[in-house]
């Protein structure tokens, strides 16, 4: 669909909120490549997007931040083909710039003098944190279980919390407002980002083209720039 003669077409891409920057850039690129096509990003939490799709939202592409959300949509047979993983994200400890509290290991987060913030177990980053705790036997005592990872990041960035469990990509996008502390066991909880074209789409060609853009070198470069891992 590169012909501009067919008039305005709209491609609706439902993407997890954590993909805001990456997909914003890809939208621009895709629209440049496909004149007459307007990409509309619907950005929200993955599970909310899944809910919307199941209630009949007009989506062409769905990019989720976790496999569980994709699974909810898949169950209803709304996908064409299997979802494909296009990005990875690993957990990291976000601390204030300069690491004033001297946090170096995951076990440091047990220190009673620290204010720690994590995601709620119901959201992907919280699930990952929980998994890490199980793997390591560390028991965190957070002051808050946030609903999304950006909230955790903000609490650290604003100095309310000394440390927060976030994704690597979040530390990258925070551009110096927080510092990431890598730790060895983080590989035990890798988060996978799946993407799929929806069965109800009226324009499988365009949707496929967008998915391909995500997997292209351009896409990968954008994802890496934002701190995601790619295949």
């Amino acid at each position: 669909g590169t012909s501009s003669g067919e008039g305005e077409r709209t491609l609706r891409v439902f993407a997890a909120a954590s993909l805001t920057e990456v997909f914003g850039a890809l939208e621009q690129r895709f629209e440049d490549d496909h004149p007459g096509v307007d990409v509309q990003l619907n950005l929200a939490g993955s599970s909310r997007l899944a809910q919307q799709i199941n209630e009949g939202a007009p989506a062409d592409v769905f990019a989720a931040a976790d496999e569980a959300s994709m699974g909810i949509v898949r169950q209803t047979g709304a996908l064409t083909g299997d979802p494909m993983i296009f990005a990875y994200n690993r957990m990291t400890i976000a601390v204030q710039p300069g690491n004033p509290k001297n946090i170096n290991y995951f076990t440091d987060l047990q220190r009673p003098d620290l204010t720690v913030v994590v995601c709620a177990p119901q959201v992907p980053c919280g699930a990952a944190t929980q998994k890490l705790q199980q793997n390591t036997g560390v028991v965190l005592n957070p002051v808050s279980e946030e609903q999304d990872v950006k909230a955790v990041l903000n609490k650290v960035a604003m100095g309310e919390a000394d440390a927060g469990m976030v994704y690597h990509s979040d530390v990258v996008s925070a551009a110096g407002k927080v510092e990431g502390i890598e730790f060895a066991r983080s590989s035990g909880a890798i988060n996978r980002y799946p993407i799929a074209v929806l069965a109800e789409t009226g324009q499988p060609d365009l949707a496929g083209a967008f998915r391909d853009l995500v997997f292209s070198e351009t896409g990968k470069a954008e994802l890496r720039k934002a701190g995601f891992g790619t295949r």
Binding site: R12, S18, L41, N42, A44, Q52, E55, G56, P58, M158
Partner: protein, 271 residues
């Protein structure tokens, strides 16, 4: 009100000075955080942010939808308030409680409820799709619907309070002068209700303007179509809190302008 012997060049009744203490506290509670926002704003980036197409689209959309839903609230809510305030019977008391429900529903749940009703699997959604080939979800109409849903109780409750407080003496007089109920409504109830309608409409407009949860759940977040200013703020906050704060400032400015322009006329213009 009816007699003006003491209505002009009146001296205001003195206020107990102790009232100023809690009043000042209340004011501080409201003003200080907002002032804090102002202090923390990154003014250098304001111009760029405010002129970005995303912001302008969101602003335009917010004004249009909040305006439309305020109109809808007034058109539907005023009759509802009048009926509830003046009707007698026990069913009415239950209805009164029901009308308040959207107030307590977390907006996200309200959005879900709307989705369940107007979504393509919902009762009305299917009906509309079959009969008129119309889809509501993810359209600007859905935004207006969501905002109206959450904002209407504000209008209804403020009007009902005013209606009960005022009593129906003037309406009774109008009836004895031969005015049919519709005339009474139009020429007596409504004009006397104007001050309360003013504040009620401001409340609904404000609630609609700030509405987030129900909108994102029911209408999604599509730029230019359903991404209102609060959704754009949320979107920005994902990327960068400071730009979200700057955008929120825009919202504040818009609100203050609207309130300052609309309120004096509606609320105070009853000389």
């Amino acid at each position: 009100m009816a007699r003006g012997d003491l209505a002009c060049r009146r001296r205001a009744v003195g206020q107990a000075w102790v009232l100023w203490i809690p009043a000042g506290l209340a004011l501080a509670l409201v003003v200080l955080p907002v002032a804090g926002l102002l202090v923390r704003t990154d003014y250098a980036r304001l111009p760029a942010l405010l002129t970005s197409s995303a912001s302008l689209n969101a602003l335009r959309l917010s004004l249009v939808t909040a305006g439309a839903s305020t109109v809808a609230c007034v058109l539907l809510g005023v009759p509802l308030a009048v009926v509830l305030a003046r009707a007698t019977g026990r069913g009415v008391r239950v209805l009164r409680a029901v009308v308040l429900l959207p107030l307590v529903l977390p907006p996200v749940v309200g959005g879900l409820a709307l989705l369940f009703l107007f979504g393509s699997n919902g009762f009305l959604g299917r009906l509309l799709a079959e009969v008129a080939d119309v889809r509501i979800t993810f359209t600007t109409a859905a935004v207006v619907l969501a905002q109206t849903f959450v904002a209407m109780p504000f209008l209804v409750v403020s009007l009902e309070g005013a209606l009960r407080g005022a009593g129906d003496r003037y309406e009774q007089v109008a009836a004895t002068l031969g005015a049919r109920p519709w005339t009474v409504f139009r020429r007596v109830t409504l004009p006397l209700l104007l001050p309360a309608l003013g504040s009620g409409a401001v409340l609904s407009f404000a609630r609609a303007l700030g509405e987030f949860g129900a909108t994102i759940t029911f209408a999604g977040s599509l730029e230019g179509v359903t991404r209102t200013l609060p959704l754009e703020v949320y979107n920005q906050a994902e990327a960068d809190v400071d730009s979200a704060v700057a955008l929120a400032l825009l919202l504040i400015v818009v609100a203050v302008v609207v309130i300052a322009v609309a309120r004096p006329k509606a609320v105070e213009g009853r000389t």
